[in-house]
């Protein structure tokens, strides 16, 4: 065990470098995917058939083609069409589009879950469409979106490992670099799995804190349940 720990210590500089890139991709990818989620989630609720159709096509396209294929397409194929992205941008865009497509369903579902009476109340108060969304519907809907977004954040964190296949020096890439340099396969990959696990737990705790705060902000009672990562779950039907 002490052997493992000292070897783990040797691996730490590699892991530290990799974690920085992994976190960078996770945060930028998540930011882009939230923006895309809201754009296409709101479009899916449009009154115009055309706008809804565009949203539907986007969502089905990016959910239906594999994330790895999308990443490879952006990395290998797009430069041949004359568009060269820096590798980090490739990773962030692929993650943002893919998880944004899933996230738009979260936005749509969150808004649909707001009771009809709330909509009727905004009409009764003679609110405009923008005002209604901004002041009544979205503040409530966002609270319900946080748990599913939290699940997708963990999925996105795991998805960042794919960028190692397009040469970005993330945690997975650095793990392999450490292994190649030292031959310590067991330490390298056990260490990487443990670090990913810890990162996932940290994100889960942060999201549940955010959930509490946002619930409190609209006066919903806080649930009395254990705070923390253990117990986050991915709703089955959201998976595909």
């Amino acid at each position: 065990m002490s052997g493992f720990l000292s070897q783990f210590g040797e691996a730490l500089p590699f892991f530290a470098q990799g974690v920085v890139i992994t976190l960078e991709l996770t945060i930028l990818g998540a930011a882009l995917s939230v923006v895309i989620s809201f754009i296409f989630g709101l479009m899916a609720l449009s009154q115009s058939v055309g706008v809804r159709f565009v949203s539907r096509v986007f969502v089905e396209f990016f959910r239906g083609t594999s994330l790895l294929v999308q990443m490879f397409w952006l990395f290998f194929a797009l430069p041949l069409a004359g568009i060269q992205l820096v590798p980090v941008a490739t990773g962030v865009i692929a993650l943002g589009l893919n998880y944004g497509a899933y996230g738009s369903e979260v936005v749509r579902g969150g808004i649909n879950a707001i009771p009809r009476a709330q909509w009727e109340a905004t009409i009764a108060l003679n609110m405009g469409r923008v005002q209604r969304m901004r002041r009544v519907i979205l503040p409530q809907a966002v609270v319900g979106m946080i748990p599913p977004f939290g699940n997708w954040l963990i999925q996105l964190l795991k998805g960042t490992a794919l960028v190692s296949l397009i040469g970005l020096a993330d945690l997975t890439f650095e793990t392999q670099a450490f292994r190649d340099a030292t031959g310590n396969t067991v330490v390298a990959f056990t260490g990487a799995l443990i670090i990913y696990f810890i990162l996932a737990q940290i994100f889960a705790v942060l999201m549940s804190l955010l959930e509490r705060r946002s619930k409190a902000s609209i006066g919903q009672p806080m649930e009395r349940r254990a705070l923390g990562g253990l117990g986050w779950r991915l709703g089955g039907s959201e998976a595909a």
Partner: protein
């Protein structure tokens, strides 16, 4: 025009479809079998009254679920030979996919089992059915029927993650796309075709699952 139809239709497509059928689909089917069976076992172990069984099962599920499949595959591929287990890369891929998704399906089964009405459990007790018959003939048929769409959705998810196997030297469709694309820089054709094949297979399947959900009254 940078798109080469002749290459796309006569060279890339046949080779990629071959790999799709022989590797991608086969890996999805075999991986799903592992995930369905192992997931049920994990769900039942998780419910065990003996904490020495249920706790570690819960930790295992949580750990596997929150770490990347790609790293798990590399772990299995590189670490297993170290402990004297040598398996073909494809087999390791099936195990990796199967175990990873078993942790998801175990949660689905758990939800399904929890969703069986209390009366059904009581009835099984009232009829003094032995545990085996209670589970086999009363609880599980109802539990699984209700979660079929969720299980199906995970199969679709797994299908889209089978290309990860290329990281452990399995020549799946995407690996073939990369290889033949690199010969004369025709990535645009090969990866576009790869994406469209994934879409053509997963979209109808996803629609089917949505229909099934509606039929089961979710």
């Amino acid at each position: 025009m940078i798109w080469d139809w002749n290459f796309a239709l006569n060279e890339a497509l046949p080779q990629m479809l071959g790999a799709f059928l022989k590797v991608t689909l086969l890996a999805t089917i075999l991986g799903s079998v592992v995930a369905m069976v192992l997931g049920l076992i994990l769900a039942l172990l998780r419910r065990s009254r003996i904490q020495l069984i249920s706790r570690p099962t819960g930790w295992f599920i949580e750990f596997v679920r929150s770490t990347p499949l790609l790293v798990q595959l590399l772990f299995l591929f590189l670490v297993l030979p170290r402990v004297g287990i040598t398996l073909p890369a494809f087999t390791i891929g099936i195990i990796g996919l199967g175990v990873h998704y078993a942790t998801y399906t175990s949660e689905v089964y758990r939800a399904g089992i929890d969703g069986v009405p209390k009366g059904q459990w009581e009835a099984a007790t009232a009829l003094s059915l032995p545990p085996r018959r209670k589970w086999q003939d009363v609880i599980l048929p109802q539990a699984i029927r209700n979660v079929l769409p969720a299980l199906g959705n995970y199969v679709i998810s797994m299908f889209k993650e089978t290309p990860y196997l290329l990281a452990i030297t399995v020549l799946d469709m995407v690996a073939i796309a990369k290889n033949i694309g690199s010969l004369n820089f025709k990535y645009l054709e090969t990866f576009t075709i790869a994406g469209l094949i994934f879409l053509a297979a997963s979209y109808p399947a996803a629609v089917l699952m949505r229909k099934l959900e509606i039929r089961l009254g979710h």
